[in-house]
């Protein structure tokens, strides 16, 4: 059978992170930093003060509106600081709570569901679950919106954020049962009949594991291609439909939820456990063996790298996510959060400089663009300040997947120019 896919994109050689059978648990850190905003939206309000003693699972921040998601303590110990402005990887900041471990790792009484309401949706909200993908929003908000739009199709995104990462595929092969249970829960919440699970065909173990336990869902093997993870392209590959621009998938009756999210939904409902950890892949250009690890939220990235045996990076890059779409962070003191999709390390010698030559109109960017845009034109318009032309050439349809700049023979930083153009247009609009 031909695997489902979308036109364009890159068939990159996937670095084999060796779909590991068991995730290694990264040991608890001496000190964790837990930001009160770990998603797209608003930060939640701090529920603890400096000096408070907390146990694992205790509430640190309460969600006050549906744009916020609550956060919980991931180690036991003492709150040593409440930082007002802690930097996030996007260049913004949010308050954060720093906990120093007492070394006991005591688990508190999980309070999920004790507040009275016991329906699944409010449990999900209490558990602080966000849709664990790039730029996540609180799952409660996402599901409520999907319900409101009465979606009829659920797509479980089992495709890793990028081809070099494999934590999602590993999760599916190891915890297929939990994922199946999570699917049933979400199905019930949304009242949908049709469920698809999209998995990369290069993870046959995951495909067969999921096929054997999820009887009610259609498992779709997808061609391993970048950027298959993006929901618009997942919908294109699985359903053959396109999401009209400026509309959300929910408005055409589809919602896409990542497999990891589904797993944590099952945990929250069945075991009443809040979201305390993430499954991530640690990989990179010169890392000998990639590792899939289970990391507690708040663990400094430095500690995770040390656990994985990364000794020196030089003046390299630490990228949250994959090498094409991930965000380079400025410090390894930053913690793993609900937004951490993976860590990609680039040693000093492997850092690429986009020296920006003159476009030779080779058309390679047009060939690879999965949205069928003309990246060289949009980038050129942004560079020269022709924002009206950039908008006419559909700058806002760009999903910033990085394919165009990856293939460009004269190393034009196309995505950077396009992002710049978008922000300039937005700034112009808001000042009007």
């Amino acid at each position: 059978m031909k695997s489902a896919t979308f036109p364009g994109g890159l068939g990159l050689p996937a670095v084999d992170a060796g779909v590991t059978q068991a995730f290694e648990s990264c040991p608890s850190s001496q000190k964790v930093i837990i930001p009160l905003k770990q998603h797209t939206g608003n930060p939640c309000d701090a529920a603890v003060k400096k000096g408070a003693e907390v146990k694992i699972g205790d509430l640190l921040g309460e969600n006050t509106d549906e744009d916020a998601a609550s956060v919980h303590a991931t180690i036991s110990g003492k709150v040593i600081e409440v930082i007002k402005k802690f930097p996030d990887m996007y260049g913004g900041y949010s308050p954060a709570i720093v906990i120093e471990s007492d070394g006991k790792n005591e688990t508190g009484e999980f309070s999920l569901g004790l507040s009275g309401s016991s329906d699944s949706l409010s449990l999900i909200q209490e558990a602080g679950i966000v849709d664990l993908d790039v730029e996540p929003i609180p799952l409660y908000k996402k599901l409520s919106f999907a319900k409101e739009k009465s979606v009829n199709t659920l797509i479980v995104n089992g495709v890793d954020v990028e081809l070099q990462l494999s934590s999602r595929a590993s999760l599916l092969s190891e915890y297929a049962q939990e994922v199946a249970s999570g699917i049933e829960i979400i199905k019930e919440i949304l009242g949908v009949a049709t469920v698809y699970i999209g998995i990369n065909e290069n993870a046959p173990k995951s495909v067969s594991a999921v096929t054997s336990v999820c009887s009610s869902a259609h498992v779709v093997a997808l061609k391993a291609k970048h950027p298959q993870n993006i929901k618009e392209l997942l919908i294109k590959a699985i359903l053959g439909k396109e999401v009209p621009s400026s509309k959300s998938p929910e408005e055409i009756g589809v919602t896409v939820i990542s497999a990891e999210t589904v797993f944590f939904v099952a945990r929250a409902i069945n075991e009443k456990k809040p979201l305390l950890e993430r499954f991530i892949t640690i990989t990179g250009s010169s890392i000998k063996s990639s590792r899939n690890v289970l990391v507690k939220i708040g663990t400094p990235i430095m500690d995770v790298l040390e656990y994985c045996g990364v000794s020196s990076i030089g003046t390299g890059k630490v990228i949250i996510g994959g090498p094409l779409m991930g965000i380079a962070i400025h410090s390894t003191n930053m913690p793993v959060t609900k937004e951490t999709t993976g860590v990609y390390i680039q040693q000093e010698g492997d850092v690429v400089e986009f020296s920006s030559g003159v476009c030779i109109k080779c058309g390679l960017c047009v060939q690879v663009c999965p949205m069928r845009l003309m990246p060289h034109l949009i980038s050129g318009f942004s560079e020269s300040g022709e924002y009206a032309m950039a908008e006419q050439t559909d700058i806002f349809s760009c999903i910033e997947c990085g394919c165009c700049a990856y293939v460009c023979p004269v190393l034009i930083p196309l995505v950077q120019w396009i992002k710049f153009g978008k922000s300039e247009i937005r700034a112009q609009r808001s000042s009007e």
Binding site: P244, T332, Y344, Q346, K361, V366, V415
Partner: protein, 315 residues
């Protein structure tokens, strides 16, 4: 571990390693089989033409870039490739001064005056070739026949034009045309070798299939109509494909990056128009071979064809 100093920059963080130099190297490799056949049939003199063309093209490029106070980028090999392609469009007897004039025009009017590689509206090689055709018509038809028993020194399309269809079957076989057993420009004679080179470029993703395939489709369809109506008067589509510069033009000239469209629809229309115009010029034009003129003229439409955008996702 010490807290490392990190680099922060926009996405993407990796690159394919593609470069102009790699693209040009691939084109040089792709041209090699046709060159070998040219040297084999027309003798050592062809090497003289090729060396002068490549060396003078690179030299002009360096000189002009120096004069125009630009960064000298001859190591991206684009000058060398243009020089080689121009050499392939010359007869083996071309005099050195004509070659140097050609490469000067090619680099100046075909490239540097517009701001360098990528900004030229026309294929520089063809600008130079057209100038040479108009300025030194005698030198451009000073043919040399390949060794062996030959009835004519004229290239196949010239025979078709001036002696008619019957002489064609007398002088040439399809197999011979495939291998390059006819006179003509250095690089155009062996259709098979050009095909091998073109297929290599498509396989290496240097060019896409759209332009060559639609170019051939244009030739076959348009010449096929006349041939079906009156096979006694008009040459077959197969002859139009194998004779003259169709393959050289379709694989190596029409696919010139900056003067050809970039969208699939644009490329297909461009290719078909090139093919049709090739046949039109061959049937009714004053020139013998229409392929090169066709590419030259149709590239005027490129900015227009680039306006035919693909349907954007979700629009």
């Amino acid at each position: 571990m010490k807290t490392p100093e990190l680099v922060v920059s926009a996405i993407p963080h990796v690159h394919s390693g593609n470069s102009i130099q790699k693209i040009m190297t691939n084109i040089l490799i792709a041209l090699l089989p046709a060159i070998v056949i040219g040297v084999y049939f027309f003798g050592i003199d062809t090497i003289r033409v090729i060396v002068i063309a490549m060396a003078s093209a690179v030299a002009w490029e360096a000189i002009l870039q120096k004069i125009m106070a630009r960064r000298i980028v001859i190591n991206n090999l684009s000058g060398a490739v243009s020089g080689l392609i121009l050499a392939m469009l010359l007869p083996p007897t071309a005099p050195w001064w004509m070659i140097c004039t050609g490469t000067f025009v090619m680099i100046l009017l075909g490239k540097e005056i517009y701001g360098g590689l990528g900004n030229n509206p026309f294929n520089g090689v063809l600008i130079a070739w057209v100038v040479l055709q108009m300025s030194f018509p005698d030198c451009m038809i000073n043919w040399m026949a390949p060794p062996g028993e030959f009835f004519t020194e004229a290239p196949p399309l010239e025979v078709l034009k001036f002696e008619g269809l019957n002489s064609i079957s007398e002088y040439f076989t399809n197999g011979g045309l495939l291998m390059g057993q006819s006179s003509g420009f250095i690089g155009e004679v062996s259709t098979l070798m050009l095909f091998v080179g073109g297929a290599y470029l498509i396989a290496r993703k240097v060019i896409s299939w759209h332009i060559p395939v639609s170019f051939f489709a244009g030739i076959i369809l348009f010449s096929g109509i006349f041939w079906l109506v009156n096979p006694a008067e008009y040459a077959s589509p197969l002859f139009h494909l194998l004779a003259g510069g169709a393959f050289l033009a379709a694989f190596f000239l029409a696919t010139d990056m900056s003067s050809s469209p970039v969208t699939p629809a644009g490329m297909l229309i461009y290719g078909i128009l090139c093919g049709v115009l090739t046949v039109v010029i061959r049937l009714w034009g004053q020139w013998v071979d229409g392929a090169y003129y066709a590419v030259f003229l149709i590239s005027i439409l490129t900015p227009l064809l680039d306006k035919i955008k693909s349907k954007v996702y979700g629009r």
